[in-house]
Symmetry: C2
Subunit: 322 residues, 2 copies
């Protein structure tokens, strides 16, 4: 099993280092946060605040380097990768994919890069919030582009599977559009709800119950991380925000004119049934040979249909799709 | 302890009948749903599908009548109350208060009415979803108007306290404005999120994680009940929807122009801190004599400040406020 070098030890990077170490892999990490480095070292992990040293070791050991820094720190970290581990096998866990892919192509053109994004998290952040089981059964997007090296892809996918997650093969653009819908818009809505609720003062706060606490939970996330994630996905997020504005405006118009909200509420109810149906549906096994000429198309088709790769068997991705 | 007659045995009415029976009170219920009546009877509760008989018995026993029907059924049920228990002590658990107060004044002017609304619920509905512990530590608004009979108010508040909840004394208008913020807008946002997520197809559904499932949970509620509740609060809800449109539009404009979402995200984060602060704050004891000339003002002031009545001691409401 290939060694793993994790740069950035917040919630995701810290959980990844713990989970990777638990698989028996040699794994080390680096973080600029003295606090996180101290906490990780005290917990027995091999951690330094010297990012360059960690990358140098990765180059020597031909380790898989995982960028687990916020989007705003990606360019600087890639500069260090280019200097100290230019040819490494490289992945990341950043929550937007097209901007990272673009930065990698500019900054580290010789790295064997495969993008990644685990769909897991909590409203907490930092090393202490991490948990080796965070990725259990989670979807983890592993990027497939026209020029993706499928040997490198399989290495990253194997790590993801070892960490307990399922692999969703996708183009960067498909990922960014989907997370604008199911993650970034939910974060914006939560922020707006939390603002409007708080403006109701102590009375509104004293009446807040489940619909409010559920709807605002992710607004308690570290604002810097939410800002980096949503602003970094501007291109995909703008049309989704426009869709939300259109739907909210339509609800407003209907409430003001006829007094009816049936269209809004029924569509939402059907949406929840769609999610439930996607989760409950019987799934069929599917195999994609990674050495076939159309392997990339096969993987992406699987991801686009909501499928997941759950194993790698020699040169074949084994998965399921509805 | 006064007997309790519950009209409507869905999630809230069914939980209330269970919890009232557990306090040792004589309690009976009526529902037009044969299914719910059968299930409740089989569970050992005193339940009928004959609403008029249940109300007739309430008049004979001078019971406290609780309307636990959807807003759309309130007018019809009040007509039956006026016919069979015109002078009863009457409360309700409907999620808007000004429209119910208005209907009561028109339909049952001789009833001693005190409005109510428990801030508790789940996305489920119907008798089988009920639970005697649903109201434990929940806020339960008990209405105070200029003409509220404080003896009747204390009777309703005592029942609420016996059921395990805390009493929030409020004017109907204050209640309706606050729940537009912390309940009805969250329901609309959840519906819109669930619609936009589902439009992303199986791919978006396969990437949906905590921020999406939390943000859309209440969109899975019975659409008829959500429609009744939000449409019934039209007057208070419209300005809140306008506030949401303004904030979402501002976020859109900022993302499109400067690319920044800091104002939106920071305000949301501060909103979550406001809720946490309101819940963690040290509270001072407060007593409001129900026989004082300014008792109604004292109760409402307590509710408006986010306070709760936690006991009734002879003729004094005992509570806490921050």
């Amino acid at each position: 099993m290939r060694d793993v070098c994790v740069i950035g030890l917040g919630l995701i990077g810290g959980s990844l280092l713990r989970a990777a170490a638990r698989t028996g892999r040699t794994a080390w990490g680096a973080t600029l946060s003295e606090v996180d480095a101290d906490a990780a070292s005290r917990a027995g992990y091999d951690v330094t605040t010297d990012v360059e040293a960690a990358l140098h070791r990765a180059a020597e050991q031909d380790a898989l380097v995982v960028l687990a820094v916020p989007l705003t720190a990606v360019e600087d970290t890639l500069r260090q990768v280019a200097q100290h581990a230019a040819h490494c096998l490289l992945t990341d866990v950043v929550s937007v994919k097209a901007p990272v892919l673009d930065a990698v192509r500019r900054r580290t053109p010789y790295a064997r890069y495969v993008g990644g994004h685990p769909m897991a998290g909590t409203a907490e952040s930092g090393w202490l919030a991490g948990d080796a089981t965070l990725f259990d059964d989670a979807a983890w997007v592993v990027g497939v582009e026209e020029d993706t090296d499928l040997t490198a892809w399989a290495e990253v996918a194997r790590l993801v599977l070892d960490l307990g997650a399922h692999v969703v093969p996708l183009h960067a653009e498909s990922h960014d559009e989907a997370v604008a819908r199911v993650s970034h818009l939910p974060h914006l809505f939560a922020a707006i709800l939390a603002t409007i609720g708080a403006q109701g003062g102590p009375l509104a706060m004293s009446l807040a119950a489940g619909s409010y606490t559920d709807g605002t939970r992710v607004a308690g996330s570290n604002p810097a991380l939410v800002k980096a994630m949503t602003e970094g996905n501007r291109e995909a997020l703008l049309p989704i925000v426009d869709e939300a504005l259109g739907r909210l405006g339509a609800a407003r118009g209907s409430l003001a004119s006829t007094g009816g909200l049936a269209a809004t509420i029924n569509a939402g109810y059907e949406g929840t049934q769609t999610l439930a149906a996607c989760r409950d549906v019987e799934r069929a096994g599917v195999r994609v040979s990674l050495t076939a000429p159309d392997a990339r198309e096969g993987l992406v088709a699987l991801g686009e249909r909501g499928g997941r790769v759950t194993g790698i068997d020699a040169d074949t991705a084994v998965g399921e799709v509805s």
